[in-house]
């Protein structure tokens, strides 16, 4: 390898210590979905870290292969769970992606999709809603079905056809119409909570947001839902656009500071994970560092809040057979593993089947299933096999991306299973209790 000028990677990464912490013991290998697919060291966390180190130290240039391996990574962070040394793999791979983006690598179509999705749509509430409206009418007015029938997508490209299928059906009404800025509980106020609606959750899964607020208000929570809140910025950060992510983080801090609350509830694993990291993202910002720290401390996943604070006293019976899939950003990034299971165990009548490799990525991984469709499907295949083996009627999972991906998998492999967010089931349980009492 030739000597190249030092890469800016070292500037992006907090310090050399993060790069040096991996002792290349290899304990991460068996946790990595991409290494399992290729059995190549360069598709493993250990191999990627070695390459990032080489690029950071100027021993190797960013190459197509390097860029491809960084994008091949799902950033599921299962390796961080597997790593006894506590290596910050996610930080490294995300920094590498920033570098790749700056250096102009990656496939043109992939970059275009990313650019449109991240810069134009997700970063702006209005644009996202306009896009969603267009999508909604496209789906609801039968244009989609018609085009599918004609098979025009198949003619254009199989991939485009499949991607169109992955895109979730848009909610009829967005969260803002369903959820007021302040929701008061029926009885006494026991908790002051704020709720982050998320961007995708807001337009694609507004009903889940509604369920979340309903459960909160039914359990004595006053719920603030700031109008000015925006996308959390996680998809931007994970795909190399840290600047937009920072801007969004600041907007959210501003929006939520207007209210006085104890817990900031998220029902989307990816958003919750990233909002818990605002303190790190804005650590060097003179105006926002301290405010970000306070903000992040209050962020809780909805299942975490329910399991720890136990605001629901009586769960009603739900006679269903379910299984639980760990969203990566819940299990590996937030380390929220036991809490959702504890909550589910409180529901009488519920049969919970153990899902093999429950914390193995489903392949959704943000916009991964769109920009790396083929890889994503190989990973989904493994997940669906495991789901099929549980013979459960319902798969529960706490992230919009996973819900969509597994729904798509159920359709693709013709598996008769419903995919819902745990909060939807919990709401049902509360309703059943109220009906019986």
């Amino acid at each position: 390898m030739n000597d190249h000028p030092k890469s800016a990677l070292l500037g992006v990464l907090p310090n050399d210590d993060i790069l040096s912490q991996c002792i290349h013991c290899g304990l991460c290998l068996s946790s990595c979905p991409t290494y399992e697919l290729t059995k190549l060291e360069r598709s493993s966390p250990r191999g990627r870290i070695r390459m990032i180190k080489a690029v950071a130290k100027g021993e190797m240039q960013i190459t197509d292969t390097f860029a491809d391996e960084m994008q091949f990574c799902l950033d599921c962070q299962a390796c961080e769970t597997a790593c006894p040394a506590g290596v910050k793999y996610g930080t490294m791979v995300e920094a590498a992606r920033v570098e790749i983006e700056n250096a102009g690598f990656g496939s043109k179509s992939g970059r275009l999709i990313k650019k449109i999705a991240l810069k134009l749509i997700l970063a702006s509430n209005n644009n996202l809603k306009i896009a969603a409206k267009v999508l909604y009418f496209y789906q609801k007015l039968g244009v989609q079905k018609l085009l599918h029938k004609i098979g025009i997508f198949k003619l254009l490209s199989v991939k485009l056809y499949e991607i169109d299928e992955i895109a979730p059906a848009v909610s009829k009404k967005f969260s803002k119409k369903l959820i007021p800025e302040i929701t008061k509980p029926g009885g006494q106020v026991k908790y002051q909570t704020a709720f982050h609606t998320g961007c995708l959750m807001d337009v694609m899964f507004a009903e889940i947001n509604k369920d979340t607020v309903d459960v909160l208000s039914a359990s004595g929570c006053k719920v603030y839902n700031p109008k000015e809140q925006v996308c959390c910025g996680s998809l931007h950060a994970h795909n190399g656009d840290i600047e937009t992510a920072k801007t969004l983080a600041k907007k959210n801090i501003d929006a939520f500071e207007k209210f006085d609350y104890q817990f900031l509830i998220s029902n989307s694993a990816g958003c919750g994970a990233f909002m818990k990291e605002y303190d790190k993202v804005l650590a060097d910002d003179p105006v926002y560092a301290e405010r970000a720290r306070k903000f992040s401390q209050k962020v809780k996943d909805i299942t975490e809040f329910l399991a720890v604070e136990k605001p629901i006293k009586n769960y009603g019976e739900v006679n269903k057979t379910v299984t639980y899939h760990d969203a990566c950003h819940l299990a590996h990034t937030q380390k929220v593993v036991s809490q959702p299971r504890e909550v589910l165990k409180s529901i009488p009548g519920l049969k919970i089947k153990n899902l093999e490799e429950a914390d193995w990525c489903c392949g959704s991984a943000g916009i991964y299933n769109i920009i790396r469709y083929d890889d994503s499907m190989q990973i989904l295949n493994r997940k669906m096999n495991n789901i099929k083996n549980t013979e459960a009627e319902i798969v529960l999972t706490g992230n919009p991306g996973c819900i969509q991906q597994i729904k798509y998998g159920a359709k693709k492999y013709n598996i008769n299973v419903k995919v819902i967010h745990p909060i939807t089931l919990i709401k049902q349980s509360i309703l059943n209790n109220n009906n019986n009492s």
């Binding site: 390898m1 013991c25 060291e41 506590g86």
Partner: protein
């Protein structure tokens, strides 16, 4: 390695199984060993025995070196490339070929992951005991090549106790088959046992036949806390003297248990000087009796608390925590040099004291843990490879530890292998006639010294005057 040689290699394995990209060379330049690394010239992923055989023949003709590799978790540098070398990666050979329920054997390809092998045979209520710390990742081929041990070695022995037969491609390209399903077999020299632990210097293993045993039905897992390090060592000696053989008896010192607790958060006692993780297993009531005796001995040796795993799940948590010890130590410092000096079990308390002494004398930090029951310690120096002065001190501390182990009748490596990391100490353990015999055997089997050369020992004229003095020379060699 020139282009025409690379083309010939590519012809043998096919272009998809060949790479000489900078990225792949970099990603196969290391294994789990600290400080050592070297870029190979190319990497291949052979499909079958014939390809490996032709690669070996080509290596003899074109004078390049061949370095076999499994998952790359080794801790003595056995899979680290040498000069002008081709790395042969065997991870794709991951099929379990046969589980023979009547003869209690399993036939596997070398790339099968050890933990996976165990869970598959357990479906038949059979048991493959060797369980190296990296068993969730490491391959059985690497285990055989290094005669890997593990936590259960105390009662069940190590890899060599379970290998019934092997197939391997010799450096001249021939296929050598040894052993078979016979429980007894004394036809000729015992080549099979000789291959186990040969560290990829005599051939590339392509098939392995392993012995299985019936799975124990009961087990009890205990964790004993000690306020004094030496009390824990004495407890181990007393248990052995009481003629009880637990299936594992693992020791973690305060530094190690704190790192493990940081990772696992399972409630290890942060203030204890040491803990012992003990598992007794077997069938019937004897297991409980053994556990009671063990508990009594622990208490007699001032154990401050004894935690009994409530169920298999908790037992697994405790054992998994123990297996993470080496990597968890990297939470303290970025470079962890792990050795596995081993002494006769009766000398364990003395040896633990020597590690503490080494840390003080050379002003370095050690985390100490290991398989206390079989005298196999893993003193791990916590350091930073960016600090040359400290690395020099670490090497001096290890020289001291190895010498003390040898003085106590011990050995330089219990289960990791000699590889590159410990070859300078081999002569002290094996003696000159021993090393000379090894070299002669190697030169007969591998005439041109093409297969993993420079591992275990170097074939070169003996130095006149003083022996190589330090690890720097190994480092020079691999640079």
């Amino acid at each position: 390695m020139d282009k025409s040689t690379k083309d010939k290699i590519k012809n043998i394995v096919g272009p998809v199984n060949f790479s000489d990209s900078d990225e792949d060379k970099l990603c196969y330049s290391y294994d789990g060993t600290a400080l050592l690394h070297q870029l190979p010239e190319a990497v291949v992923f052979p499909d079958d025995e014939d390809q490996i055989s032709r690669l070996m023949q080509l290596a003899n003709e074109e004078h390049f070196n061949v370095v076999p590799r499994g998952a790359g978790t080794g801790l003595s540098g056995g899979a680290i490339p040498v000069e002008n070398s081709l790395v042969v990666v065997m991870t794709k050979w991951d099929k379990i070929l046969e589980i023979d329920d009547r003869n209690l054997t399993v036939t596997v390809q070398p790339g099968v992951i050890t933990g996976k092998l165990q869970s598959e045979v357990e479906k038949f209520e059979l048991f493959y005991p060797p369980d190296p710390g990296s068993m969730s990742v490491c391959t059985i081929g690497g285990n055989v090549a290094n005669n890997a041990g593990g936590l259960r070695g105390l009662k069940y022995g190590v890899t060599k106790n379970y290998v019934l037969g092997t197939e391997m491609i010799l450096p001249n390209g021939d296929l050598l088959k040894t052993g078979g399903k016979n429980v007894k077999d004394v036809a000729g020299y015992n080549l099979r046992d000789f291959i186990v632990g040969s560290e990829g210097t005599l051939g590339i293993i392509t098939k392995i036949l392993l012995k299985l045993i019936p799975q124990p039905t009961n087990s009890i897992t205990l964790l004993a806390y000690f306020d004094r390090l030496l009390d824990s060592a004495q407890a181990v000696s007393d248990i052995i003297s009481a003629h009880i053989t637990p299936c594992m008896m693992e020791f973690l010192d305060n530094t190690t248990l704190n790192c493990v607790e940081d990772y696992t958060k399972i409630g290890l006692p942060r203030n204890s000087e040491a803990v012992l993780l003990i598992e007794v297993d077997g069938r019937g009531s004897i297991v409980r009796e053994d556990a009671e005796t063990v508990t009594r001995i622990m208490k007699k040796n001032n154990a401050s608390f004894i935690r009994t795993a409530a169920d298999l799940e908790e037992a697994l948590l405790l054992k998994t925590a123990r297996r993470s010890a080496f990597s968890a130590l990297a939470r303290k410092r970025p470079t962890t040099i792990l050795e596995d000096a081993t002494v006769p079990r009766s000398e364990l308390p003395v040896m633990i004291g020597k590690v503490t002494e080494a840390a003080k004398k050379f002003d370095v930090t050690f985390g100490n843990f290991g398989h206390a029951g079989d005298g196999n310690l893993h003193p791990t120096c916590l350091t930073d490879e960016r600090d040359n002065l400290e690395i020099t001190k670490a090497h001096k501390a290890f020289d001291f530890i190895f010498n003390e182990a040898i003085k106590l009748g011990g050995t330089i490596t219990g289960e990791h292998g000699t590889g590159l990391a410990k070859k300078q100490f081999l002569e002290q353990v094996a003696g000159i006639p021993g090393i000379e015999m090894m070299k002669k055997i190697k030169s007969v089997i591998d005439e041109n010294n093409i297969l993993n050369p420079g591992k275990i020992f170097s074939i070169s004229p003996r130095c006149e005057g003083s022996l190589p003095s330090s690890r720097d020379q190994i480092n020079d060699f691999v640079k």
